[in-house]
């Protein structure tokens, strides 16, 4: 959860990617905490998540940075102070929501609900409030992590194949988005989505 706060506050893209990777690793740990370490399936799944979100995604995004050489600051359209303000508010809301839910959550996971809801909020915020396409991808990953953490907190067991399917989908999504970021850079010489306003309708 702290990692999401840091994402909102960090200005350098490379830093954001590192934090997102850490978030992925934490998610894998959470899975082991919640589901127990007994079954080899859980180990495989946790390993998959850690490799995918902790290593593959950051690698993809870093490659996108390298190829587009955006070394600059991540330009927010809402400044960092406000972002942190949003973080505080949404954290309060998230804790309030999770205290409202009188749900038989798994013991180890009850703080995870607040974190999950908070991650969903901050994911949305990153998508809306950051201008660079790359940061929107990170926002999507955060949102997805949040949804997944929520699922973990439920201790609901999907069949193994279904879990793999979901992971694969998310992997391809980030992969395609990474390629698109690269293409956007080639076509526009920037990855600033605020300037992508060609397609619209005047009512």
């Amino acid at each position: 959860m702290l990692s999401a706060v840091a994402l909102l506050g960090t200005s350098r893209i490379a830093g954001c990617i590192r934090i997102s990777a850490a978030q992925g690793g934490l998610l894998a740990l959470l899975l082991l905490c919640v589901r127990g370490t007994g079954s080899p399936y859980f180990w495989a799944l946790a390993g998959g998540i850690a490799v995918l979100k902790g290593i593959v995604f950051p690698w993809l995004l870093r490659r996108a940075i390298r190829e587009t050489d955006v070394q600059c600051e991540n330009i927010p359209s809402v400044n960092y102070l406000l972002s942190l303000g949003w973080a505080a508010v949404s954290f309060a809301v998230a804790s309030w929501i999770s205290s409202l839910l009188s749900v038989p959550f798994h013991q180890a996971a009850s703080p995870a609900v607040a974190a999950a809801v908070f991650m969903i909020f901050s994911g949305f915020f990153l998508i809306v409030a950051r201008r660079l396409a790359l940061m929107q991808v990170l926002g999507f990953v955060t949102l997805e992590n949040g949804v997944y953490a929520f699922g973990l907190a439920l201790a609901y067991d999907f069949p193994f194949l279904v879990e793999l399917g979901i992971l694969l989908d998310i992997f391809v999504a980030v992969f395609v988005m990474g390629i698109m970021v690269f293409r956007i850079h080639r076509a526009f010489d920037h990855i600033d989505t605020r300037q992508m306003t060609n397609l619209k309708d005047e009512p």
């Binding site: 396409a133 997805e144 699922g151 439920l154 609901y156 999504a173 988005m177 698109m180 526009f188």
Partner: protein, 490 residues
């Protein structure tokens, strides 16, 4: 066996298309896969396919109904593609709107993604497991994003980015909806049940209402984004106008339906648990709002492909409305789904021809089409009459059935608003279409060549729509009956 091969044919074809070097063979592969898929789908009406992998893959009559639409549309697009891909030769091309040069994405990638897209849609329709449905819908987004970006230039790129991001976020919300639904089952009883429709219907009495409602909101926003319900429709006009026309036809006629099936699958669960009224009132509101948004944007539209895209928003609104009202209107909505898919695919394929002939998407710059390309112009006019709901075409009939259902159910205000919006949209589109077909041809007045393959699919669809407008064949009536029975009994 049939079920597995339905999935395997496009999947294998898609992978093979990436590998095959020769353009001619790859086009043949596309056509063969499409024909085989359609044949298998039609065979599934005769021989009920056995479930595969336990209860994960089940093709019921609702899924088969929409799968038939999807498969026929894909076949039509594949036939159209035989001609289209020849004209879209490699090398630099001039952009129709701003006349800069661009190149196409490799054709192998286009064909491959097209077939994978079909496989993903088949998966969506051939399951009653909510998580697999989710995987399928997300896969359709990913397979179709490269299709929109076939013409590599900045506008299609912008459209693809919006499509990818908006739909992915929407679908992430639907995943949250799945978790909420799982929660609604485990809150009361403490046990987790498999995420299939049948298990949920079986446990309907022990589901927690508050979580179910929250879940439905997530699903409606999530799948509604993909389906193009306003106000989550913002990706739709961009993607439909920038994609190659045969892709627009598939997106509009097949993909939007698949997303709707995502919502339809839930309705039996909510019906069994006694929350049907809650879902239905939401669907009616979203439906009417979508029609309103579509009407506003169609009136002042300058781009004919965007006009068709907003018309899709309108028709998805009509479908949501019909399902929401229930009873006879629900029956009409299922019938409407066939009519809309065929009519919209027909229009988008014709729009592709117009774009090729006139090199513009601006309505005002297309003039005198009746002189320049009479076949396309005649079909375009017929297609307009069909899509806008004029008799004697099928859409008139299904829209009328929905209206009768609304009046029967006592929804007089909604019925009035529905009629008003339909007529506004009719007038808005009529203006555009008449100005395109009539008048003097702007440039060199001679007729252009219209290859048979470029209008044959549209012609077939037009004839079918004419038939369903005059007389609903018994097999169609049965199919609609069976499909709408699965949606629910309200």
């Amino acid at each position: 066996m049939i079920l597995l091969s339905l999935l395997a044919v496009p999947l294998a074809g898609g992978v093979a298309a990436f590998v095959v070097r020769s353009d001619a063979w790859r086009r043949r592969l596309l056509a063969c896969a499409a024909i085989l898929h359609t044949a298998l789908t039609l065979a599934a009406w005769r021989i009920v396919p056995a479930p595969v992998l336990g209860e994960w893959l089940v093709l019921d009559r609702l899924g088969l109904f929409f799968l038939t639409i999807t498969s026929l549309l894909f076949l039509a697009c594949a036939v159209y593609g035989l001609h289209y891909l020849r004209t879209e030769s490699a090398g630099r091309q001039e952009d129709a709107e701003e006349s800069f040069l661009f190149v196409n994405a490799p054709e192998a990638r286009f064909t491959g993604c097209l077939l994978l897209f079909l496989a993903a849609m088949t998966l969506v329709l051939a399951t009653r497991h909510l998580a697999i449905l989710w995987i399928g819908i997300e896969a359709t987004t990913l397979a179709s994003a490269p299709l929109i970006y076939f013409h590599r230039h900045h506008r299609s790129l912008e459209a693809t980015w919006k499509y990818l991001l908006i739909c992915s976020v929407g679908i992430a919300l639907a995943l949250l909806g799945i978790f909420f639904l799982a929660l609604s089952a485990s809150v009361e009883s403490g046990a987790s049940i498999p995420l299939t429709v049948d298990h949920f219907v079986g446990h309907a009495a022990s589901l927690n209402g508050r979580w179910m409602k929250a879940a439905f909101l997530c699903f409606l926003v999530g799948y509604g984004t993909k389906m193009g319900l306003a106000p989550m429709h913002t990706w739709l006009p961009d993607a439909h106008s920038e994609a190659p026309s045969m892709v627009s036809a598939l997106l509009s006629g097949a993909l939007l339906n698949c997303a709707m099936v995502g919502i339809l699958r839930l309705l039996p669960i909510y019906d069994a648990a006694g929350y049907a009224a809650f879902c239905q009132s939401l669907l009616v509101k979203f439906g009417l709002f979508s029609m309103l948004v579509a009407a506003v944007f169609i009136i002042a539209q300058r781009d004919f492909k965007r006009m068709l895209a907003y018309s899709s928003v309108e028709h998805m609104g009509i479908l949501a409305l019909g399902i929401g009202i229930g009873g006879l209107a629900k029956w009409g909505a299922v019938l409407h789904a066939v009519n809309h898919s065929l009519a919209k695919a027909m229009m988008f394929l014709l729009a592709g021809n117009i774009l090729r002939i006139y090199k513009t998407k601006t309505i005002a710059e297309v003039k005198g089409m009746l002189r320049r390309a009479p076949v396309t112009a005649a079909l375009w006019t017929a297609g307009f009459l069909a899509i806008a709901g004029a008799p004697p075409f099928g859409i008139f009939l299904s829209e009328f059935i929905i209206l009768r259902g609304m009046f029967q159910g006592g929804h007089f205000w909604a019925g009035g608003a529905y009629l008003l919006l339909l007529s506004v949209i009719f007038v808005g589109m009529a203006g555009a279409v008449t100005s395109m077909t009539q008048g003097e041809s702007c440039c060199e007045g001679d007729r252009v060549k219209e290859p048979f393959l470029s209008f044959a699919p549209s012609l077939v669809f037009a004839v079918f729509l004419l038939i369903t407008g005059l007389w609903i064949p018994p097999f169609l009536q049965n199919a609609v009956e069976q499909a709408s029975r699965i949606v629910g009994v309200f």
